[in-house]
């Protein structure tokens, strides 16, 4: 629990900085737009329409969309635009902040008493004087209400910036959800909520101060907020050493392997930081763009998703093919396979498989019209599923996607008859699930491979620090480490499991 709480200040600081930067940028864009829109109703329909449209895009999707967008932009201008981390998160959250500021700004300005505007014109104010002396102060309380809404939304949505590799309190929520570490989830949520309530309360003081024309109160509240942001800058500015960024996708094994890599690199004298919870598609592109330096992927995932291959040669050939392709196309170095496979494996409760006489995927296909399939969140959209479905002619009565932790519960409780388990998952043994044989070889091999970004590919010291991991992790060891994190009782953190695995490997 203390280790959990220790992560809060740093993440909360990054969270606050991101949200406040987005709010500031949102204000810089929305305020002029609101002023122009208030003067031109025809334009207001367009600006408000656009802002409302943005609001209908789920925030998770909005964040994810900025990744390929910035990647394309970076390609256009010849590189240099970071597609991962702060920038995409900032841009997505800024778009999110626009609507409430714009809408309240326009409402505040157009809702002013026409007599006051006539008086302002009548005494001979210039348009700028009218805005400064009359419109802005009178519209300010309504505008402030919009800014408060934007602040709360932005702080809430900033938890999702984790998925594009920008650290926030979402790191705790996402990794907690994956590893079913509920105290981690709870602390992350409470910290984000406290941040939102705190900022909202301060802005509320500003709003009431403006309405009651208490200048000192407004300045004091803004001062406290400014001080909080300055304080949040401190830990961000602290690390002077350029750090190695280690990527991880969004499940326990990835968290453990990232920490294992991190511990090795720290022993070798590198400073490291983690970008955890990356989407499967984002991770490889992030590596190719040098946004992360190193991560573990699976040969079959790249083979089917990045290389778009549909054939399934032997495991060694896939690893060799991926290695050559990654070097040729992206300058990415495949240091080697770690020694175990994390393949998609169709798994059932042992007694159910025996009762129905299912041992292979052919058997499963025959029984599929009576069975419910539970998968992880990605599988049904992946080419591997299309291949399996077509090769074996599977027609399940129902298919349903689960968060991996819940997928194992679904098969245990009978809500799902068969699941797309992971072969290195400790819960297969723990739940005594039967793994079905891919007798037609439709699913490629999924060797865990260590990938190094183009910018680090020629760093011999870096490669030397990680080489002891190559071929060193048998699937039994990985399963045990995974199970330490995934099990319900006596859970360990990914870092603890990584240390256990590191000790097991020896120096």
């Amino acid at each position: 629990m203390n280790a959990t709480l220790a992560r809060v200040p740093d993440l909360a600081a990054q969270h606050l900085l991101l949200a406040m930067a987005a709010l500031a940028l949102g204000l810089a864009v929305a305020l002029p737009l609101a002023i122009i829109s208030a003067r031109r109703p025809a334009l207001a329909r367009w600006t408000l329409g656009f802002a409302s449209f943005v609001q209908t895009i789920p925030s998770l999707a909005l964040l994810a969309l900025f990744y390929p967008l910035l990647l394309a932009l970076s390609g256009l201008v010849g590189g240099g635009v970071p597609a991962l981390g702060f920038l995409p998160a900032l841009l997505a959250l800024t778009l999110y902040a626009l609507l409430p500021i714009l809408r309240n700004g326009v409402t505040g300005l157009t809702g002013l008493d026409p007599a006051i505007i006539e008086a302002a014109d009548g005494v001979g104010m210039t348009p700028a004087q009218k805005l400064r002396l009359v419109e802005a102060p009178l519209a300010a309380p309504v505008l402030m209400a919009g800014i408060r809404t934007a602040a709360v939304w932005t702080i809430g949505a900033a938890t999702l910036s984790t998925t594009v590799g920008q650290p926030s309190l979402g790191d705790m929520i996402f990794s907690g959800l994956q590893t079913q570490n509920w105290s981690l989830v709870l602390v992350g949520c409470l910290a984000a909520a406290a941040l939102a309530l705190g900022v909202d309360a301060l802005l509320g003081v500003v709003e009431r101060g403006l309405a009651m024309r208490r200048r000192k109160r407004v300045i004091a509240a803004l001062g406290v907020l400014g001080a909080a942001v300055l304080l949040a800058f401190a830990p961000v500015l602290a690390p002077a050493r350029p750090a190695i960024t280690i990527g991880a996708k969004n499940f326990s094994e990835q968290f453990i392997l990232a920490r294992l890599i991190g511990q090795r690199l720290e022993d070798a004298g590198y400073a490291v930081r983690y970008r955890e919870g990356l989407g499967s598609a984002v991770a490889f592109s992030a590596l190719a763009a040098d946004d992360i330096d190193v991560y573990v992927d699976y040969s079959g995932t790249i083979w089917t998703n990045q290389m778009r291959r549909t054939d399934t040669p032997p495991r060694d050939a896939i690893v060799a093919g991926v290695s050559a392709w990654a070097a040729r196309e992206h300058g990415v170095r495949l240091l080697g396979a770690l020694g175990f496979e994390n393949a998609y494996a169709f798994a059932m409760k042992r007694e159910a498989a025996a009762r129905r006489g299912i041992a292979t995927l052919d058997d499963l296909a025959r029984a599929s019209p009576q069975l419910a399939l539970g998968s992880d969140l990605e599988f049904l959209d992946r080419p591997e599923w299309a291949a399996v479905r077509d090769v074996y002619a599977m027609r399940f009565a129902s298919t349903r996607a689960y968060n991996p932790s819940f997928m194992y519960r679904a098969v245990a409780s009978g809500r799902a008859d068969v699941i797309t388990a992971f072969s290195s998952d400790g819960r297969i043994a723990a739940q005594d699930l039967a793994m079905l044989e891919d007798n037609r070889g439709a699913i490629p091999g999924y060797d865990a491979v260590l990938l190094i970004a183009p910018g680090r590919a020629d760093d011999a010291r870096f490669a030397a620090a990680l080489r002891p991991l190559i071929g060193a992790i048998p699937v039994e060891a990985m399963r045990e480490a995974n199970y330490m994190v995934d099990r319900d009782a006596d859970k360990r953190s990914p870092a603890e499991a990584a240390r256990w695995l590191g000790r097991w490997l020896g120096p």
Binding site: P114, A115, I117, E118, A119, D121, G122, V123, G124, L133
Partner: protein, 254 residues
């Protein structure tokens, strides 16, 4: 006061809103220092005509001159700073004190207040301590007195008043009307007053213009109007206060 306010001249001033003509070609001269009332029913074009002077309304055609200068030849905000403007809905700035409201014209022109606020409060018969009050702490009559003070702050010599007493109770209305007429004489202004109340126009103005459907239907001295020498349209409007006055006199005799 020896100097008189400016002359105002309208030349073919026309204003169309779509197909309807709010002003159907007005040619008119206002003499320096005169107090002119524009009377007519709603929609007769009297407010529209008034607002073409300080360019709150731009005419479709025609020109307006103040002392021979075309108002269109000057930036609107500069023009308006030389013209006092008072209107029915007053439009006091709710976030400013009475003093700040009165001094707003000086402030936006970069001029010092120099005790003007106290002077103006006295001119409109308000106590000096009203300076610190907020507009929402004033009655309707008090607010319009502040409105008049605000219009006079920059020492304009032309005063435009659009139904300034329309929303006030009869007693306040009478007092403020007299006060405004007195200030007109004292400061040597040229004043144009828009009202739908013929009795008010007759009692306060030197010259009464009756407007109807965007035209000037009658142009006469108050005495000639009462005497029925100003034509049919005017007579219809004058008949009302005249009959009321006769009935009041009859009541007195009973």
């Amino acid at each position: 006061m020896t100097t008189a306010g400016p002359a105002v001249r309208f030349e073919g001033v026309t204003k169309h809103y779509g197909d309807t003509a709010a002003l159907a070609g007005i040619d008119l001269d206002i003499a320096p220092g005169s107090f002119v009332a524009l009377v007519g029913s709603s929609g007769s074009g009297k407010s529209t005509l008034l607002k073409t002077i300080n360019r709150l309304i731009a005419p479709t055609a025609g020109r307006v001159f103040i002392d021979g200068g075309d108002v269109a030849g000057e930036e609107p905000h500069r023009l308006r700073r030389r013209i006092g403007y008072v209107f029915q809905n007053i439009g006091l700035l709710p976030h400013m004190t009475v003093a700040e409201n009165i001094a707003i014209g000086l402030r936006i022109d970069g001029r010092a207040e120099n005790g003007r606020v106290a002077e103006l409060l006295e001119m409109v018969d308000l106590p000096a301590d009203f300076a610190r009050r907020m507009p929402d702490a004033l009655s309707g009559g008090q607010r319009q007195r502040v409105g008049v003070a605000r219009a006079l702050a920059t020492e304009p010599d032309l005063m435009l008043m659009d139904e300034p007493f329309g929303a006030l109770d009869p007693v306040t209305r009478d007092q403020l009307g007299e006060r405004v007429r007195a200030l007109h004489d004292q400061l040597g202004l040229t004043t144009l007053l828009v009202t739908h109340d013929m009795a008010e126009a007759l009692l306060i103005a030197d010259r009464v213009l009756v407007m109807d459907h965007g035209r000037i239907a009658a142009d006469a001295l108050p005495a000639d109007l009462i005497a029925g020498k100003a034509g049919e349209e005017a007579e219809a409007l004058v008949a009302v206060p005249r009959r009321q006055a006769e009935r009041l006199r009859a009541l007195e005799r009973e």
